[in-house]
């Protein structure tokens, strides 16, 4: 049985509850044991690394040290948290002075034994596509999905293990295995402007608008994401964006765990599909999936 330390992150306990719930549900179904880190603290997000290198390394280090003590690898479904945990590890390893300072402020030793993996890798790579295939209850026939990776789960190159930085295929392979059709499109790693969602909103709207338009033009029925920040830009801001660019978008945005959950036979209540701004139910009903 696969056992891994679970770092949900702040978004997953509020704006992205459905991502947390669907993650836990799917992992339970696949018998992957997620051990939530007790009293975990925020990874610091972009804010920490643009204000202080030490804050950016120390906040994630606390969780890394906990996981290390339990002898577990660590995962987060949120691309931003994943990136902060991974980058903190890489920076601490590279810079002995930073390591010393981190150990001093958190008051614990850092050995760097724990590997940080995004949830997509745990499910698709470690658990394995073949094993997932064996569990499928309902094939997602006829659904065209644009897999959107965004920035932080693939960049910089050091965090992108076993995949191509400029054209990642991990989620596309999953979609294919579930019986749906991954759309070929060119914006899968473009930035949605997540860090500016609340401060420089006009930039976030423009970047997210370009992504949504491209997905639509390439014939996608829905966009699949693996990050709560991408999701809130593409879904919750979609009505504003559609108005701004004067185009009818109406393209549902689902988490990859929700898409996987549908194939494992869960219904819209289990997966909290009603939490999305753009309602995916009409589409899924039309395709005979719900």
């Amino acid at each position: 049985m696969l056992k891994v330390a679970y770092f949900p992150g702040c978004s997953l306990s509020s704006t992205a509850k459905e991502y947390d719930i669907s993650t836990r549900l799917v992992c339970e179904d696949l018998e992957i044991d997620l051990v939530e880190i007790p009293d975990w603290i925020c990874c610091g997000a972009t804010t920490a690394h643009i204000t202080s290198e030490l804050t950016a390394a120390a906040l994630p280090a606390k969780s890394l040290v906990w996981a290390e003590k339990q002898g577990l690898n660590i995962t987060s479904p949120c691309s931003a948290c994943f990136s902060r945990l991974k980058m903190a590890h890489l920076h601490i390893e590279k810079d002995p002075k930073l390591k010393k300072e981190v150990e001093e402020v958190i008051g614990e030793k850092y050995n760097g034994k724990t590997e940080v993996m995004h949830l997509t890798r745990i499910l698709i790579e470690q658990y394995g596509i073949e094993n997932i295939k064996a569990k499928i209850k309902k094939e997602l026939k006829g659904l065209k999905i644009a897999c959107y990776y965004g920035c932080l789960m693939t960049r910089p190159a050091e965090v992108c293990v076993n995949d191509r930085v400029e054209n990642p295929m991990l989620m596309d392979n999953l979609v294919k295995a579930l019986g749906a059709e991954p759309v070929k499109w060119y914006y899968k790693t473009e930035c949605c402007g997540a860090g500016f969602s609340l401060t420089k909103t006009e930039i976030a709207r423009k970047l997210s608008g370009d992504i949504l338009k491209e997905a639509k033009d390439c014939g996608a029925d829905l966009v699949m994401v693996a990050c709560p920040l991408c999701h809130s830009n593409l879904d919750a801001r979609q009505p504003e964006i559609a108005k701004l660019i004067k185009t009818e978008l109406n393209i549902p945005v689902l988490y990859f765990t929700q898409v996987l959950g549908l194939a494992l036979g869960y219904n819209s209540m289990d997966l909290m599909l009603n939490k999305h701004f753009i309602n995916p139910k009409p589409l899924l009903k039309a395709k005979g999936i719900l």
């Binding site: 009293d39 204000t51 960049r155 910089p156 609340l198």
Partner: protein, 198 residues
């Protein structure tokens, strides 16, 4: 935006400061322009990333520090991933922001530092981000009290996506430990900037 190179614009040691703090060899940049070509926000910047790199090489500290470039960097890491000289440009952008906030330069941007201050306070006091408090305090302090309240904020509340009560530490001793850690970090940060700028 164009820049003009004049002797009086050049600050000896600026390049060294940036290189030391970011631990990146900026003098390695050979101006291929890949970073600017891939940057999603280059269109809104005073100078695109490659131009900033050149200006740092030349030591044009006033123009670099007063430009909006680093504040418009969204940390997407595209430049870092593609640079043929293996310069972590995104980290250089972070460094420029950290230097600007360390007080020796006039800030060309106010809203992001306000946001960051509230964000970090929230982590210090609760261990996590308390969105409602974050958005409320940010809107008030940045003087856009109603931003994102309607329709997005309201709909988020209706859909149960916003918590009204902040998350708290289960264990009060963790709170004390956390506050102590932040205090120590601030002290170390001051030493770090001082030592590298000295």
């Amino acid at each position: 935006m164009k820049y003009e190179l004049q002797l009086k614009n050049i600050a000896e040691g600026f390049r060294k400061d940036v290189e030391n703090l970011s631990q990146q060899k900026i003098s390695n940049c050979y101006q291929c322009g890949k970073c600017s070509a891939g940057c999603p926000v280059a269109y809104a910047m005073d100078y695109p990333p490659s131009m900033i790199m050149r200006m740092v090489q030349l030591g044009m500290h006033d123009q670099v520090m007063s430009s909006n470039t680093s504040w418009y960097c969204v940390s997407c890491e595209t430049c870092t991933t593609r640079c043929p000289r293996e310069i972590d440009i995104a980290k250089v952008m972070d460094t420029l922001k950290i230097m600007a906030q360390a007080g020796s330069y006039k800030l060309s941007e106010n809203e992001i530092p306000i946001f960051d201050w509230i964000f970090l306070k929230s982590i210090e006091l609760t261990g996590k981000i308390y969105e409602l408090g974050l958005i409320g305090a940010y809107n008030l302090l940045s003087l856009h009290p109603l931003k994102d309240i309607y329709p997005m904020g309201l709909k988020m509340i209706i859909k149960g996506k916003i918590n009204f009560i902040p998350h708290l530490f289960y264990n009060p001793s963790e709170l004390i430990k956390n506050i102590r850690m932040f205090k120590l970090i601030r002290k170390k940060d001051r030493e770090r900037i001082y030592e590298k700028n000295a």
